[in-house]
């Protein structure tokens, strides 16, 4: 539980992260992900509640420091010193830990060897982020915290970071990350907690959550004349349709089997003389789970 004035930033969370897994906190901006992860990192004090990390409680003294030795932390807004080189930055961070990777080891991990003598302010966004992760990995952590590690990165840089996380996990490490990219969570995480307004609204593996929709596909369409659209009841009677949702002129059907629902939909539209302006189908994603739970899209939530 964490309050800022009257606003409860995080309220009544109950999460357990198992050793060796990758756990994702998902949600739109302002959902309380960063507050949650910073409470776990011991950087923010909760107003109420119990936090255990690697079986230990946070304290200000030697216990807290001993715990920090085993953690790797990447914060969302940190800007590393502009005029230090990559090597100097890693050297600085490794000096703060009793047990640490060498500079070469960690630069190999994040593939920044060719930039080792560049100043930080000369790095691209993706390289800076990898350096930030390098500073988190330098302590050979048991548990790695990543707060929106790929926000604002291009797809290639994002994939590079995913590879780094995969390598870390292959070595037995545990990861807790926050993201507002659902596809990232689906790809990386064993378990996710979807957060909204400081509360967990869904918890489970991405597969379980999607299966919870009762259907694995989404058919979305739009009509040239919105007035000719069939009503929800008619759409709901189509074979395999679980849910009907209207969103800004588009209609989304969550269906079990596309190959049954689609011909029936087309036939229905034809009998009503409605003309399609657009039709897409995709596998249901965590985004659809979020939409089903909140009625909002992540991006505009």
């Amino acid at each position: 539980m964490k309050r800022y004035g009257a606003l409860a930033a995080v309220d009544g969370l109950d999460l357990t992260v198992a050793t060796g897994e990758c756990f994702g906190l998902l949600g739109p901006n302002g959902a309380g992900k960063t507050t949650t992860i910073e409470i776990l990192e011991g950087l923010t004090l909760p107003d109420a509640g119990d936090v255990q990390v690697l079986g230990m409680h946070w304290d200000d003294g030697a216990g807290g420091r001993a715990l920090r030795e085993r953690l790797g932390i990447q914060l969302q807004e940190t800007q590393l010193a502009d005029k230090l080189t990559v090597r100097e930055t890693v050297d600085l961070f490794r000096s703060l830990y009793k047990r640490a990777h060498t500079v070469d080891e960690v630069l190999d991990l994040v593939e920044l060897q060719d930039k080792r003598d560049s100043w930080v302010n000369k790095l691209s966004g993706g390289q800076k982020q990898r350096l930030s992760v390098a500073c988190a990995l330098v302590s050979k952590p048991d548990l790695l915290f990543l707060d929106e590690p790929t926000t604002g990165l291009d797809p290639q840089s994002r994939r590079q970071l995913w590879d780094i996380i995969a390598k870390f996990r292959a070595g037995g490490g545990t990861v807790l990350l926050t993201t507002h990219y659902m596809e990232e969570a689906e790809r990386l995480c064993d378990h996710v907690a979807i957060m909204d307004h400081g509360k967990v609204i869904a918890l489970g593996s991405p597969r379980e959550l999607i299966a919870g929709l009762g259907a694995e596909h989404v058919v979305e369409f739009a009509l040239t004349d919105a007035a000719s659209a069939p009503d929800d009841a008619a759409l709901g009677r189509l074979p395999g349709v679980q849910r009907v949702r209207r969103d800004d002129g588009r209609i989304a059907l969550t269906v079990r089997e596309v190959h049954r629902a689609l011909p029936a939909l087309l036939a229905l539209l034809q009998t009503r003389g409605a003309e399609l302006s657009n039709l897409t189908t995709h596998h249901a994603t965590l985004e659809d789970v979020f939409v089903a739970l909140t009625g909002r899209h992540l991006r505009d939530a």
Partner: protein, 343 residues
């Protein structure tokens, strides 16, 4: 050794500093430029010739010629309006109005004018037959230690220690806080004391360069020497630097933005630049202000530096001002630690 956090944190501080060309200029270059400019402007060339005017009237040219014969006076005959204007604007130090009695018009609060009054009166009285009754002989001295530059160099050194302590520490701390780098360090097992000590250590390294540069410059260009012990001078600068680093930490202990801390720094430094006897002696301030002025750390540091450099004072003689400097350092460091915003 190289892997010790204190070493790495100090190294990072020093690297960041030397890679900032503006900082280098303000800390090392500026005081030297200042010493050079002021040293040239106020070099001891004596009062030179004093310009005086004689208003038009009976016997004006004889008066002017008499005055002009004196080696320390330059006299000209001017019409009354021009003469008054030049007197008012300070282009002439004194105006002689012919007549009986002769009238000297001058501003008695101007040193130059009073000097002109003496010279003019002496020259005119002698020309009319006054004789000196006591035999005197002039003995002139121009010794290092009594010139303005000798006064200035210790003051600039003190000002520089203040500026580099407050800027060097304050900006770096607030920048780290603004960029969330401080918070990032708090997410590591780093000891807070190591972080703060690194600032102090890197300050001491630069202190050495600053002191050697400024004193070396004063010695090479103006022949400003150090009369007291070098070791004592080193001790005084180290103490001053530590105290000002503490003050810098205190100024930076809460501020979240560079803009915020800049205002605070000026608030702390400006009064001391003016009051603490950097460019001119604080004895010029009214007596009632002196105790307050003497309580400022820069005043005491300047006093101690001048005592060592000019008077060759011993440690015991400067114990009192050094005590005040140390007290400022200890108190601001302790308070800074207590209220420091770590994230």
């Amino acid at each position: 050794m190289r892997d010790h956090p204190l070493v790495q944190l100090s190294l990072a501080r020093m690297r960041e500093f030397v890679r900032e060309p503006e900082a280098i200029f303000w800390v090392f270059g500026f005081p030297i430029v200042m010493a050079f400019a002021l040293g040239i402007a106020f070099r001891n060339r004596g009062p030179g010739e004093l310009r005086v005017a004689v208003a038009r009237g009976a016997g004006d040219s004889v008066l002017a010629a008499t005055l002009d014969r004196s080696p320390r006076l330059a006299a000209a005959v001017l019409d009354s309006a021009t003469a008054r204007l030049q007197l008012r604007t300070g282009r002439v130090a004194l105006l002689v109005v012919p007549g009986d009695p002769l009238v000297y018009r001058y501003d008695s609060t101007r040193t130059e004018s009073r000097l002109a009054r003496l010279e003019v009166d002496g020259a005119l009285q002698q020309a009319r037959g006054r004789t000196d009754v006591v035999a005197v002989r002039d003995e002139r001295v121009t010794e290092p230690g009594s010139r303005y530059i000798d006064f200035l160099i210790p003051g600039l050194l003190g000002m520089n220690l203040l500026g580099s302590g407050i800027w060097g520490v304050g900006f770096a701390v607030v920048q780290a806080r603004q960029k969330k780098l401080l918070k990032r360090f708090m997410a590591t097992p780093m000891k807070k004391s190591h972080y703060l000590l690194a600032f102090i250590l890197s300050r001491l390294v630069f202190l050495f360069v600053e002191v050697v540069a400024l004193i070396g410059f004063g010695w090479l260009v103006f022949g400003v020497g150090v009369r007291g012990s070098w070791l004592l001078l080193a001790g005084v600068t180290v103490l001053g630097s530590l105290a000002f680093a503490g003050l810098g930490l205190l100024v930076a202990s809460r501020a979240r933005t560079i803009e915020g801390v800049s205002g605070l720094m000026n608030l702390v430094m400006l009064p001391m630049w003016i009051l603490s006897g950097t460019f001119f002696s604080y004895a010029r301030f009214p007596d009632a202000m002196i105790p307050f002025v003497k309580a400022l750390p820069l005043t005491d540091l300047n006093d101690a530096l001048r005592a060592v450099m000019i008077d060759g004072a011993s440690a015991a003689q400067i114990a009192a001002p050094l005590g005040i400097v140390a007290l400022w350092g200890v108190l601001s460091f302790a308070l800074a630690l207590k209220i420091f915003r770590w994230r």
